[in-house]
Symmetry: C2
Subunit: 209 residues, 2 copies
């Protein structure tokens, strides 16, 4: 039952997204990120917003985290490599993201830790309070770090932004994953359509680490 | 403890919003809506998106609801008046909205029904799936109808849009409430700052019906 629902959801969404691409004509096969890209240089002066409650947001004076601080080791570099796995998705409270994408990383967190990954990060074009509410609902906050990209600046810099107004979402992002060592992209996976879930899950990137 | 936290939140947010206004210089004392305005004419060709789960969104083919259908009686008009109370707020999962604004309407729903109000509606510049998740968390879906304004089109038409990037929210809305009979605004209340909660609560508008 759940499985058939999921298939139907994915198929319908794919058809709609395919329709949007045909209308907009803005489909891009490649983004501004690939194996070898320095993600910090590709997104200079860009910050993300750590998921938190509104009260925590106020207490932190609505602070943001520079991309550099997320991907680069702060001390003992180059003797200590910071290893990050990051995945991006179209939005909190949407179908594939809630039912497949986040769970695939959450349920494999021990395998990432065993391979020496320092951080597993989920990023989405949402504000940090919505993202926090969603992460709590998915009971994923202990395993995964969540960062909002509320103005889409990070995804725009990487050419991973995507208009999903057809699904009542507005400007969002593609679905993707990357393995990044001290800011350098070692592996990058991009779904053809945001409703796809073929290459951006935990199983694929675990094989690339 | 909760009370002092709330005061601190409200005061800090107010300072930040006041700062944003001083920088942006875009403070407006009046919106394009007031007592006497026909809200359907003021927002022509605008739709809102009923809060729902992603799967319900797919099943509904991502349909939206024209503003006319929300405010105008569909049959027996003019012998049957459709009476709507609507309130707008800066965003799901933010402080005053979660802790005061929605609860003030939820907890007074019987008084609205006793006064013959057909719908009590909450609208916010969020997508309908996020709004649904928040409404469920607040256990407010039985009492209140929630509508997303994912692209801000409704609030822009009414001149109630507001940039809240200073609080990591992006383009959102003022905090407001209105009593609307068959599309005609009978009472309108607008907070000076989105962090204020002085005139847009249930108690004020109950006295205006």
């Amino acid at each position: 039952m759940a499985s058939s629902l999921l298939k139907r959801t994915s198929y319908s969404a794919m058809k709609l997204v395919a329709g949007a691409l045909a209308i907009g004509g803005s489909s891009r096969a490649y983004a501004a990120i690939a194996a070898g890209t320095d993600i910090v240089s590709a997104a200079p002066n860009v910050s993300l917003q750590k998921a938190r409650s509104w009260d925590e947001g106020v207490s932190s004076k609505f602070s943001a985290t520079p991309v550099k601080d997320i991907f680069k080791a702060r001390f003992l570099y180059p003797y200590f490599d910071k290893k990050v796995v990051i995945f991006g998705l179209p939005g909190a409270y949407t179908g594939v993201c809630s039912q497949q994408h986040v769970p695939s990383y959450k349920n494999n967190i021990d395998k990432f830790k065993a391979k020496g990954i320092d951080s597993v990060i989920c990023v989405a074009v949402n504000d940090p309070y919505v993202l926090n509410g969603w992460a709590e609902k998915l009971q994923a906050k202990d395993a995964i770090e969540f960062y909002g990209d509320f103005d889409g600046g990070f995804h725009k810099a990487l050419d991973l932004d995507k208009d999903l107004s057809v699904a009542l979402l507005g400007p969002r992002s593609h679905r993707w994953s990357a393995y990044v060592v001290d800011g350098k992209v070692k592996a990058f996976n991009l779904e053809e359509a945001p409703s796809d879930f073929k290459v951006s899950g935990a199983d694929v990137i675990l094989g690339q680490i």
